[in-house]
């Protein structure tokens, strides 16, 4: 980070006691976000954090900006109101896999399709943390919890696939433990105009420990993290010996030497069609094997807020009759002497 910024992390600490379980991935994400905010050259009061309900959603209480800890699932709607009321604000949504994809799934997809100026961080721990460990819409099928003693029957959502299906203009994935990558994703999301969606794999060490072990474990991570980088061939593994090809049947993992480097997919998040990004998102459902992280898609589309402002400006230019008396006159009146 640059050193000549106005703020330090401490400026973004609210002073309220942080109450997550020791070892929770949420602490790491909080630190990444606070450091990132401090690195920016924008006034602290211009940030607003809106969250729903869940462990993740306690986040706004700990960040010394404007914020609202709202109700379960509704943060995207409330944040939409904030963003439309004042386009100068940077509005962040903090949500969990239950909050954002179960009770609040509807608001999430509608925010994404509208392209409201929001930065949505979905902390995916594949469990309901706050209510003590029930399966969530991202839990793997067959997951045994207290509410699914014989295994969950639900087929899980893949949040990145879902966001792409909703035609989100910015979709990324990162991992709590990888602070450098998290910061990179925050930066890209911050710069994007419109709705940015970042899925953050977050470890709940109490109710779903090691859910992302294959991406975070020292032994396993090299073989399983697929870093998506714009303009570069999608390769991974210790010596970049593995790669991804995309064809009619979607994305497939191959040995580079089997197909040759030229056959490997070059990553291009700016592709207008979300098809290839969607194919990449299907590589791992869980994650249960090699899993892409990074920016899947980043395209430009007019934001809802800008369109709203320009409609209002147009209307004002065309119609100057803006008193209640004008309205009534147009409606028709008569006079009684």
């Amino acid at each position: 980070m640059t050193t000549d910024t106005r703020y330090t992390r401490a400026d973004f600490q609210s002073g309220q006691e942080v109450k997550w379980c020791p070892g929770c991935g949420d602490y790491t994400i909080l630190a990444s976000v606070q450091n990132f905010l401090a690195s920016l050259d924008i006034d602290r009061e211009k940030h607003v954090f809106i969250s729903g309900i869940g462990c993740a959603s306690r986040f706004p209480y700990y960040v010394n900006t404007y914020g609202m800890h709202s109700i379960h699932g509704r943060a995207p709607a409330i944040a939409t109101g904030v963003a439309l009321a004042d386009p100068d604000l940077t509005v962040w949504v903090i949500t969990g896999d239950g909050d954002g994809l179960s009770i609040g799934g509807n608001h999430l997809i509608h925010a994404l399709r509208r392209n409201v100026n929001l930065k949505i961080l979905l902390f995916n721990n594949q469990i309901y943390g706050l209510t003590k460990g029930q399966y969530s819409p991202t839990s793997e099928a067959g997951k045994r919890t207290k509410t699914s003693p014989m295994g969950s029957l639900d087929h899980p959502f893949n949040p990145v696939s879902l966001a792409l299906g909703a035609e989100a203009t910015f979709v990324a994935r990162t991992i709590d433990m990888d602070r450098e990558h998290t910061t990179e994703m925050l930066q890209a999301a911050y710069e994007h105009k419109g709705t940015s969606f970042i899925e953050i794999y977050q470890n709940c060490n109490v109710f779903n420990d090691k859910a992302f072990q294959i991406l975070t474990g020292r032994q396993e991570r090299e073989a399983n993290r697929i870093y998506l980088e714009a303009g570069k061939p999608i390769v991974f593994g210790k010596d970049n010996e593995m790669g991804v090809v995309v064809g009619i049947d979607g994305a497939q993992i191959v040995k580079v030497e089997d197909v040759g480097l030229d056959a490997i997919q070059i990553h291009d998040p700016a592709r207008p069609s979300p098809g290839v990004a969607f194919a990449l998102s299907r590589l791992a459902h869980g994650p249960s094997g090699p899993t892409p992280i990074g920016v899947f898609r980043q395209v430009e589309r007019a934001t809802y807020g800008d369109l709203m402002v320009s409609q209002i400006d147009d209307a004002k230019a065309r119609n100057k009759a803006t008193s209640i008396s004008d309205l009534v006159q147009q409606h028709g009146t008569w006079t009684v002497e």
């Binding site: 609202m68 509704r74 939409t80 109101g81 009321a85 608001h107 009146t333």
Partner: protein, 623 residues
């Protein structure tokens, strides 16, 4: 047919009032005919009140009872209170319309039927065994018929409208005939048609020709040779417009935002009968208002709450089912103590109920339908035009006390129209608001939950204000700091403070004025849209020699401070309500008054005589 006047026209018969009901199939354009008749009567200077009544289905099967749509308008040369208990004139475009409306026609009233529609098929569909126009069953009424379809076809032959569409203009034929009969000005109709359908377009031509044909039919047909005159009403001097409740409410919200110097933000999801408020405000973008059609009602109130947090005058509009969905967010708005107006245009429930019909059955939900101890101010307009004033009052209370407010309108007010004597719009009461800009605690600390000593309101510091960064949320707040607090004493104190803030609004609303004598034998208490029929019912009782007083509530929480004293003055208290007795239950619980209910849940407003009858029954009852 044009020129051959059969006998010299008789001078019109003078009437001080008349009630006309247009009834037909939902596809027959009766709402339009009624609205146009209303507008030309308004332009003519009559006092008036309307009652549009239409089915939930856009097009129920043609010719059936379920598909009947009607529009009643009461016009008078004096200041009237209701749309009229019974119709003097019924325009029946088909047998089903006759059958479902005849019971509301006064004995000896005029029935004007479209004889072309009284064929066997339509008679069967309406369940008539024989043709009522000819079988003598309508001998208590004065029946007139016209071949409206045949004559409409002839009249529009040269308009360029072809095929089945020609019959679309038959409502204008009926309108023309009624306009002739009641000596209405024709110019406003022509102007409106040209504006609506485009000058000289085939549809405009067809409608105008059909209207003329109807008008001339009256003029040239011996049978119709009787017209009526209802002189302009001697209303108080002033400038008037004819307005529906939803329109007045929309304008009131816009006016409130202007008075407060705030941007109006409306988040909403379409639902009958509230939708037209969103539609009305959406077309006022040049006022700088922001409207947002959300993905559901929860999002509708959610975006509004976000806008409230960010300093806008935030509103969400809906009907009963939507209020249920918004309930959790209303509690959050209450907990975060942000100003927000929820408009509930009530309809008959539960569930989808009778979605286009009136009821006042959401009162308990408005007062108590939230989790936790969650009191909110509740207001209700008493007539279509009062919706303007009540919208401003809702905004005043929400902003001054930093609280969500519920405004209970209903489907009758929403669609019904009345002349509105315009206030001086340059002289509307200002709504003073102040956003916090400076820390209010020691050492530059900002206390988001410090309360104003008089109102109990907390400061409204909006995002973007330097130095006042703070968090709000659903968890209990520590007094002053607003930090999360699980302290039991703090929770009790904050619960009491939130309730006291709402109760304290009673000091800031006008005392009730009782209509009638302090020593009357009975007090009638009403709220919301029943004002007109209840006042008319009380008037009738007094004219008949009884002694009744009336008080009408616009503030339902808190109640005006003198309500308890007023109730205590009367031995008998009657509460007419379009529900099973919700206000009655609240009054009995709060004031231990022996109030009884006059209940009606038929999807229709009260008739004045229903109120009168109940007053008389209670006063004749020796107990």
């Amino acid at each position: 047919m044009q020129e051959e006047t059969l006998s010299p026209p008789k001078p019109p018969e003078k009437r001080d009032r008349v009630v006309i009901r247009f009834a037909g199939d939902s596809g027959d354009g009766m709402q339009l005919a009624g609205t146009r008749f209303t507008e030309s009567s308004a332009a003519f200077g009559n006092d008036l009140a309307t009652f549009p009544d239409y089915p939930a289905e856009i097009r129920a099967p043609q010719g059936t009872l379920a598909g009947v749509s009607s529009f009643q308008v009461h016009i008078a040369d004096w200041d009237i209170l209701t749309h009229g208990d019974e119709a003097d004139v019924l325009v029946a475009m088909n047998p089903a319309a006759l059958k479902s409306n005849i019971r509301d026609v006064v004995a000896g009233g005029l029935i004007l039927a479209n004889e072309d529609a009284f064929d066997q098929r339509n008679l069967d569909k309406a369940g008539y065994e024989s043709n009522p126009l000819t079988d003598g069953s309508l001998s208590n009424y004065h029946v007139m018929t016209a071949p409206m379809e045949k004559l409409t076809k002839l009249a529009v032959a040269d308009s360029g409208v072809k095929g089945r569409s020609v019959l679309r203009s038959k409502n204008f034929f009926a309108l023309g005939l009624i306009s002739w009969m009641f000596n209405r000005p024709t110019e406003p109709i022509y102007e409106w048609v040209q504006k609506k359908f485009g000058e000289g377009t085939p549809v405009a031509e067809a409608n105008i020709e059909a209207f003329r044909a109807g008008f001339n039919f009256g003029n040239t047909t011996e049978e119709f040779h009787h017209t009526y005159e209802i002189l302009p009403a001697k209303l108080p001097a002033g400038t008037y417009t004819n307005i529906t409740g939803n329109q007045a409410l929309a304008w009131g919200l816009v006016a409130a935002a202007k008075s407060a110097g705030l941007t109006l933000f409306l988040g909403s999801y379409p639902i009958t009968p509230a939708t037209s408020i969103l539609e009305e405000i959406a077309r006022l973008k040049h006022f700088g208002v922001k409207t947002f059609q959300a993905e559901d009602e929860i999002a509708g109130v959610g975006v509004s709450l976000g806008a409230a947090f960010t300093g806008h005058l935030a509103v969400t509009t809906t009907s009963g089912p939507g209020v249920a969905l918004k309930s959790e967010t209303m509690s959050l708005a209450l907990m975060t103590e942000l100003p927000l107006i929820l408009v509930d245009v009530q309809r008959a429930g539960p569930s989808t109920g009778l979605p286009t019909k009136v009821e006042q059955s959401d009162l308990m939900m408005a007062l108590y339908g939230r989790h936790g101890e969650a009191p909110l101010p509740v207001l209700a307009p008493s007539s279509p035009s009062d919706a303007f004033a009540i919208a401003m009052e809702a905004a005043r209370i929400a902003l001054k006390y930093m609280t969500p407010v519920i405004l209970l309108s209903d489907g009758y007010l929403a669609n019904g129209a009345e002349p509105w004597r315009l206030p001086d719009f340059d002289d509307l009461p200002p709504i003073d608001i102040e956003h916090a800009t400076e820390p209010n605690g020691p050492n530059g600390v900002f206390y988001p939950y410090a309360r104003d000593e008089v109102t109990g309101a907390r400061p409204w510091a909006i995002p973007g204000t330097p130095g006042l960064e703070h968090r709000v949320g659903g968890l209990e707040k520590e007094a002053l700091t607003g930090n999360v607090s699980y302290d039991p004493d703090n929770h009790e104190m904050m619960t009491a403070a939130r309730a006291a803030k709402v109760d304290g609004i009673a000091n800031d609303i006008p005392d009730l004025e009782v209509f009638g004598a302090d020593d009357a034998d009975i007090l009638v208490v009403s709220w919301g849209s029943t004002y007109g029929s209840v006042r008319a019912g009380v008037n009738n009782a007094n004219k008949a020699g009884y002694s009744a007083a009336h008080v009408h509530l616009r503030h339902l929480n808190p109640f005006p401070k003198n309500l308890g004293d007023i109730l205590a003055r009367y031995d008998k208290v009657l509460v007419p309500e379009l529900n099973l007795g919700q206000l009655t239950a609240v009054l009995r619980a709060k004031y231990l008054t022996p109030a009884v209910t006059l209940s009606k849940v038929q999807g229709a407003p009260f008739m004045a005589n229903e109120v009168t009858k109940k007053i008389v029954d209670l006063l004749e009852d020796p107990s």
